[in-house]
Symmetry: C2
Subunit: 231 residues, 2 copies
């Protein structure tokens, strides 16, 4: 991680409206007092499950994974978070310890403000509190939805789901570089590493995708959509 010289503050931040829309300039000044902008390299761990929550994280650029580690070192990736996701909203208001770990899966820039400042503003500004709740609830609902959606699919359907997720939601391109390993894909959509590799190979043989290491190109998106739906 590396501190970045802050170029511009919250007031002109393109993401301001997403969550800080109800804060006035005075309140933003208050937030900025504890604000830091931090750069994390791919692979860096931002927070670890069980450690104290002191900061409110706010993703500007890059990609993070939110995950949980269970007995036997088994890891579940709960979600992938991108710009405009409010990744530390989870568990921040219910717990003083992180319930999830967060790591960068791409080079990432985050804004960090003191979590007590956020709580103070939530207390004093009801509009802001409602905005936080809205965001939080939306984020959680998405997690639950995708979990149940994935669990009813077969292996091929899950791989189709995750490839389309990266292509459509994250990179908005049919050709992209996977930010995570085959093992991590398995941790995200609940299957073994071998089967992730196997199904990807199947898709390659069926000319649905092109693979070169972590580079994936979707060649037959209709077919992939169909596989996602049925299986």
């Amino acid at each position: 991680m590396k501190y970045i010289n802050t170029v511009s503050g919250c007031k002109n931040c393109p993401y301001r409206a997403l969550i800080f829309g109800s804060l006035d300039n005075k309140e933003l000044d208050f937030l900025e007092k504890t604000r830091k902008e931090i750069f994390y390299k791919k692979g860096d761990v931002l927070t670890k499950e069980g450690t104290s929550i002191n900061e409110f994280l706010y993703l500007k650029t890059g990609l993070l994974k939110v995950y949980k580690t269970r007995a036997g070192n088994k890891t579940h990736i709960i979600r992938i978070a991108g710009p405009s996701d409010f990744v530390s909203l989870l568990s921040m208001f219910s717990n003083d310890k992180y319930k999830y770990s967060i790591a960068a899966i791409e080079d990432t820039t985050v804004c960090v403000v003191d979590s007590e400042s956020i709580k103070f503003l939530a207390k004093s500004n009801g509009e802001f509190a409602l905005e936080l709740m809205k965001r939080m609830s939306y984020t959680y609902d998405e997690i639950i939805d995708s979990t149940y959606r994935i669990r009813q699919k077969h292996l091929r359907g899950r791989i189709a789901y995750i490839l389309l997720y990266f292509a459509q939601k994250v990179y908005r391109q049919n050709r992209f570089e996977l930010p995570i390993s085959r093992r991590e894909i398995g941790e995200l959509i609940n299957m073994t590493t071998e089967n992730v590799i196997r199904i990807l190979s199947e898709f390659r043989k069926d000319q649905i995708i092109f693979i070169d290491g972590k580079i994936i190109e979707i060649k037959d998106i209709e077919r992939l959509e169909r596989i996602k739906k049925i299986g």
Copy 2:
């Protein structure tokens, strides 16, 4: 459903401290203006996914299931909610439509207040807003946690999990009546009805449980705990 004559108000409610601890008497009076107490019989549907959220529900006695219906009439039960659970917190602040359906799986009494009143108080009373967030976040975290915990277990482990859940968390007795059918158990822990029945029969043959229709008695709790852990 049936309206109940309100005997005592929020001020003396045993659950007041759980979520309304930060509201003063004046604010409680405000809430009580729209407050109704409603009785639902087992099987009654309280809310349906997709309909407008107008009320804030607050479970006093009984048991509810929170569920989602997918394409092909496939149902997922997201959670079982009991007294002191704040069942309509989910999606209330992110959406004006329910994201989940709710039905009574036992005779149930709920308090209902206008959702706009709750939002008004959240806006004007920051402490209350934080309490709501805390509850909401806690509830969501529990759902996510149990989902991931269940999905890594085998069938026997899942049945052990759900039996111990009812015995320990819901009824606090080794002998209890299942509030849901075998099919619904499957919808909750992700397995087919046949396999739910089969594993229950296995447990009966192994003298781990006694079964008489919906009545279950856990005879060998240590063994069940072990099955829950390993499988």
